[in-house]
Symmetry: C2
């Protein structure tokens, strides 16, 4: 991770949705002009290994090795280690595939040897032939904690995977460092265009935006977000319920736009999701297009549309 | 691992050969009367995990989950994680299977949480339905180091697996603790009969015998060894060359008997391997029988023959 970081376009990304958008950007923007700052608030320790779900989803998706339909993990994956862990009485609610395990083993070993998460991620991406720079938002633990209405505090993965996002959310907090990784912050300083992917604003994008210096770094730049809502529903994950629980509003693109507030210079929403009468959406230029990205061609189409939209702003 | 340890029969074991002998003992001796003290001098760290090759070979062999022909690892194993590690540029000369990884992950995590290797091993064995008590020789690192004639010092696995046992051996040393695990020492104190399995005396049995208090614990007990040599060759592994390199003698059962010296009250050799004129073999009662154990039936037959022999001593 030495050398000068000068990406023209920087995307902020969580997991599946963000990764699919970034896959499109990678097909359009030259590798050395694109960087992705990835949420690490979902990271946790599992079977003694450091797991970085969003980093891996972005890395696998860009490498072409990802599981297309599922959106996370690797294609043609097997789960033999998991079955044996269960036989040995170990925990099994978070499922790691056999090939995927290699990533966590190599990462955990390198971190234990003193490498930064930024450096480890760069090495893994290089090995998998990922062109654009993928940088974790921070090199230190910063954990997204879910406070539930039944007075529990859960790690994001505990809430999302173990409890299947069922407990109603009273609040979202971030514990740990507030310092961004050097590479992440310098990417944002150098960027001309900052694109917020169609990720959950509360648990995928806010962990990045609330790091010290990040809002200052992007102030005055062209910041454009892609809506993670399609027809009042999240394309993936528990966002719709979260919007209602945390903002009191009905799930909508407008609610996401309102959440980002003054940060945005533009907003991209799904066909039919633009409510012209909605004051939240009127306050900023809006592109409406089909933002569902089931395959690479769709990702590339959305990326081109977003970049064209940004060029006109 | 709480409770009083009162095994009547205690076997000392390395990997494949010892495990196959112990498998026979387990078919003949009631579970609560049998314990196996296993060499941990081969243990090492791989992909950040604590690997205990001999403990796992004994555990897998007794559980019936082991790979019969290969002698180590699990049956019906896959190596997808390994292939991905190679793709990620990680080291691959030591091959861990996908199911096998679960054992190392659970063990490493438990050790990191402060559990003893004795306790972890008991838990893994319980989960896999292993009846006899399997105890590591020590709970602290004790590493078998191979000094080569070309002036290098290698970990046992580096020498055996990475270098395929090719560098000639100048000496064998043990680094680290000389304190046996409490459970191992108390098993040996309680034993009536101590059986040394057909394991490599230099790198599988000596690491146990040279622990503080072990020779004192077995002094005066009936100690009987099974030869690891068949027709001048090791059934498995590099023992034959080691005998020549370390003792100067030709590889033979007699050389192994001479190595154990006054410790033995009896010795079991393969049909045709008894050299009546050999003073080393004359000094102790000898049983000759077919000691090759390719399957469970053979293991049980050898175990019965050895126990009958011991009963007559």
């Amino acid at each position: 991770m030495s050398g000068v970081v000068r990406p023209r376009v920087v995307a902020l990304s969580g997991g599946v949705g963000g990764a699919r958008f970034v896959r499109g950007l990678a097909a359009v923007v030259p590798d050395d002009e694109l960087a992705v700052v990835v949420n690490t608030g979902d990271d946790f320790t599992w079977w003694g290994l450091t797991i970085c779900p969003d980093l891996d989803t972005v890395m696998y998706t860009l490498s072409g090795l990802g599981h297309e339909a599922r959106g996370w993990g690797l294609a043609e994956e097997t789960f033999h280690a998991l079955a044996m862990v269960e036989r040995l009485g170990g925990p099994a609610w978070f499922q790691l595939g056999d090939r995927d395990l290699a990533t966590h083993l190599m990462r955990t070993q390198a971190l234990a040897a003193g490498d930064s998460l930024t450096a480890v991620t760069a090495r893994l991406c290089h090995a998998l032939g990922v062109g654009p720079r993928i940088v974790p938002m921070t090199d230190q633990p910063r954990r997204t904690m879910i406070d539930t209405v039944d007075d529990r505090t859960l790690l994001l993965q505990e809430w999302l995977v173990r409890e299947r996002a069922r407990p109603a959310v009273a609040g979202v907090r971030f514990e740990g460092t507030d310092q961004p990784a050097d590479a992440a912050l310098s990417c944002l300083h150098e960027a001309e265009l900052v694109l917020i992917g169609p990720s959950n604003p509360y648990v995928s994008v806010d962990p990045i935006l609330t790091l010290a210096g990040v809002r200052e770094a992007v102030a005055g730049k062209l910041v454009v977000a892609v809506s993670p809502i399609v027809g009042g529903r999240a394309v993936k994950g528990p966002l719709a319920e979260m919007i209602t629980q945390l903002s009191g509003a009905a799930p909508s693109a407008a609610a996401v736009r309102a959440h980002y507030g003054e940060l945005l210079a533009g907003f991209v929403v799904h066909d039919g999701d633009q409510a012209d009468s909605d004051p939240g959406l009127e306050a900023v230029p809006v592109l409406t297009t089909d933002i569902v990205m089931p395959d690479r061609a769709a990702s590339e189409r959305v990326a081109r549309a977003v970049l064209d939209f940004c060029a006109r702003l």
